[in-house]
């Protein structure tokens, strides 16, 4: 009941949010992929990306956001981002360079650098976004401080690797 009331009360905000979400997402992608040309990068993009879901959660209720992006998916995304980051370095190891030496990724060192940075930043972005959303889930699910905590909180320390 409560949920419906809330939704009804914030109808205007909800509609506007629906318009905003794709734009913010787009902006996040811009910041992400433009990172090696101008200002931007994985950290910022990740946070912007996560802000979409946080906004969604604030407006539509956290329960609905959980359906969109399940904690399980977050867990895997978080790990995959980190793996992507570390994996890029390992690939460059296999290609004969030092760890994280992107020049060897492709035959052309410059585009190698480009793709290296690209994938590393992507990894960072994914991890940061996932961690931010899961932080939001953690705290918002505890409004009443009762019952068992469904999702462990302590993953937050993962983002120190970003």
């Amino acid at each position: 009941m409560l949920k419906r009331n809330v939704q009804q009360r914030h109808r205007v905000v909800q509609v506007i949010t629906k318009f905003l979400i794709p734009m913010i997402l787009l902006f996040a992608f811009y910041v992400q992929f433009h990172g090696d040309f101008g200002a931007g990068g994985g950290f910022q993009a990740g946070v912007i990306f996560a802000s979409v879901f946080i906004l969604h959660g604030l407006i539509f209720g956290e329960a609905r956001t959980r359906l969109v992006l399940t904690p399980n998916a977050l867990r895997i995304l978080m790990s995959l981002g980190l793996l992507l980051y570390a994996g890029t370095g390992v690939v460059s190891l296999f290609l004969g360079g030092n760890y994280l030496d992107y020049s060897v990724l492709l035959s052309d060192p410059i585009s190698g650098q480009h793709w290296g940075i690209f994938s590393v930043e992507l990894g960072v972005g994914i991890t940061v976004a996932a961690v931010m959303v899961s932080l939001f889930y953690c705290f918002s699910s505890k409004r009443n401080f009762v019952g068992h905590i469904s999702h462990p909180i302590s993953e937050s320390e993962l983002d120190s690797d970003g």
């Binding site: 932080l135 705290f139 909180i153 302590s154 937050s156 983002d159 120190s160």
Partner: protein
């Protein structure tokens, strides 16, 4: 006096850090302690940011030499022909990492506080201390 003021940057750092430190000592509320910690760390971030600042420096964005020439021709003043004076970007990069670490610390701290509140019913440190020592006393009584 003027000499002292010339280091306004460092004074600000000291004030911010000590404010944070004071909050951590003076307040029993765990959330306020975390806030204090955060302020304390912010002081350090500020210090790093100040390190990179170069007088009259611009943003450290790499421009094509050609572009530099053109802009130099256009602006004509301020910037010498082949060089641009830019702020040192390294401290900023460093502090970005430190900020992320700070966020992680804060998140973990808050998460712990939530848990502590669940278990103790309070986030005042003196209450927690009292509950813990009571618990020990009970154990002793049982023996």
């Amino acid at each position: 006096m003027v000499e002292w003021l010339a280091f306004y940057n460092d004074w600000a750092v000291i004030v911010i850090m000590m404010a944070g430190f004071y909050i951590m000592i003076a307040r029993y509320n765990l959330v306020k302690k975390i806030i204090g910690l955060s302020i304390f760390q912010t002081g350090i971030f500020y210090f790093y940011v100040g390190l990179g600042k170069v007088d009259n420096g611009t943003a450290p964005i790499f421009l094509e030499p050609k572009v530099i020439d053109e802009s130099a021709a256009n602006v004509a003043s301020g910037i010498a022909e082949q060089t641009i004076l830019y702020s040192n970007p390294l401290p900023h990069v460093l502090i970005l990492t430190a900020i992320v670490v700070g966020v992680a610390t804060m998140a973990l701290g808050l998460a712990l506080i939530v848990r502590i509140y669940e278990k103790y019913g309070s986030i005042e440190e003196d209450d927690i201390q009292a509950i813990d020592s009571q618990f020990i006393c009970q154990l002793d009584d049982k023996k």
